[in-house]
């Protein structure tokens, strides 16, 4: 339980820090880079290295390549939804999460399982 609480706090801090940096930067396209910052990755990898070792963390990083590819497709999909449909941002970003999940699981199934 303590481990989960530590994970929650460390993850929350990393994500908040990167989000705050992103919100302070202009122009918007540059600030947008921080929407894909390695926040959860740095928090998780730091905790995993200390608890499970580097080899275990490296396996997570290998799968992260697939996760990041899915994130790229997710971002392009959200951009198209916002530009070409009348969807609001909250609806577009949350409905497209299914795209991230689908692509990430498909890549895992095809190459990493």
């Amino acid at each position: 339980m303590t481990q989960l609480v530590i994970r929650f706090i460390v993850g929350g801090l990393f994500v908040s820090a990167f989000a705050v940096i992103g919100s302070m930067l202009k122009p918007k396209s540059f600030a947008g880079l921080f929407g894909a910052a390695p926040s959860v990755a740095l928090a998780t990898l730091a905790l995993t290295i200390s608890k499970n070792g580097k080899a275990y963390a490296a396996i997570e990083a290998r799968s992260m390549v697939a996760g990041a590819a899915a994130l790229l497709i997710y971002c392009v999909f959200v951009m198209l939804l916002l530009k070409r449909t009348g969807l609001r941002t909250l609806a577009a970003t949350s409905s497209a999460l299914i795209v991230w999940l689908g692509v990430a699981i498909a890549l895992w199934w095809g190459f990493l399982k």
Binding site: R7, F8, V10, G11, G12, S16, A19, V20, G22, S23, L25, K26, P27, K28, S29, F30, A31, G32, L33, F34, G35, A36, A37, P38, S39, V40, A41, L42, A43, T44, L45, A46, T48, I49, K54, A57, A58, I59, E60, A61, R62, S63, M64, V65, G67, A68, A69, L71, Y74, C75, V78, M79, K83, R88, T89, A92, S94, L97, L107, L112
Partner: protein, 160 residues
């Protein structure tokens, strides 16, 4: 930084309410916990996918749209689609950030086993450099690719 048109606005911190910070903190914490639990249950190969889960982008883009709309309304201008346009720009930036995130992940995957665990800080710096590099190539694409195309055109004239 300013030569590239990149500016830091500390004022944006004042326009972000406490609950917006709280949402991002809770969401980020929850995803990190979920990634850990999935790795424990289904193995690191599955849990690792969630290291690149869109944890920041949805909340940030939604807040950006809201702030843009409020700003226009306060100025007495019809916001129209300005909020969504701003969020679409944010998504374009995040797409470039995702490419850099792939480089980050490959770097950690290949180099972590043989080096110190502290290398992840270097990997974070690499992400920033790569993301900024992609952004600059896009920003100055006309100048960069213009030079390339004019040098191609220039070659025959040199030969003549």
């Amino acid at each position: 930084m300013s030569k590239l048109g990149i500016k830091i606005h500390f004022g944006s911190l004042k326009t972000t309410s406490w609950w917006e910070h709280a949402i991002r903190f809770v969401f980020g914490g929850a995803i990190t916990v979920i990634a850990g639990l999935l790795a424990k249950k289904y193995g690191p190969a599955f849990g690792g996918l969630f290291l690149a889960f869109p944890a920041i982008f949805p909340a940030s883009a939604t807040m950006l749209e809201r702030h843009e709309r409020i700003e226009k309304q306060e100025k007495g201008v019809n916001p129209g689609n300005r909020g969504c346009d701003a969020a679409a720009l944010d998504a374009r930036g995040a797409a470039m950030g995702s490419l850099a995130l792939m480089i980050f992940a490959v770097f950690v995957w290949l180099l972590l086993p043989g080096t110190s665990g502290w290398m992840i800080i270097g990997a974070g710096a690499l992400w920033l450099v790569a993301a900024a590099g992609f952004w600059m190539v896009r920003k100055y694409r006309r100048r960069i690719f213009g030079i390339l195309s004019t040098s191609k055109q220039a070659k025959p004239s040199v030969l003549q």
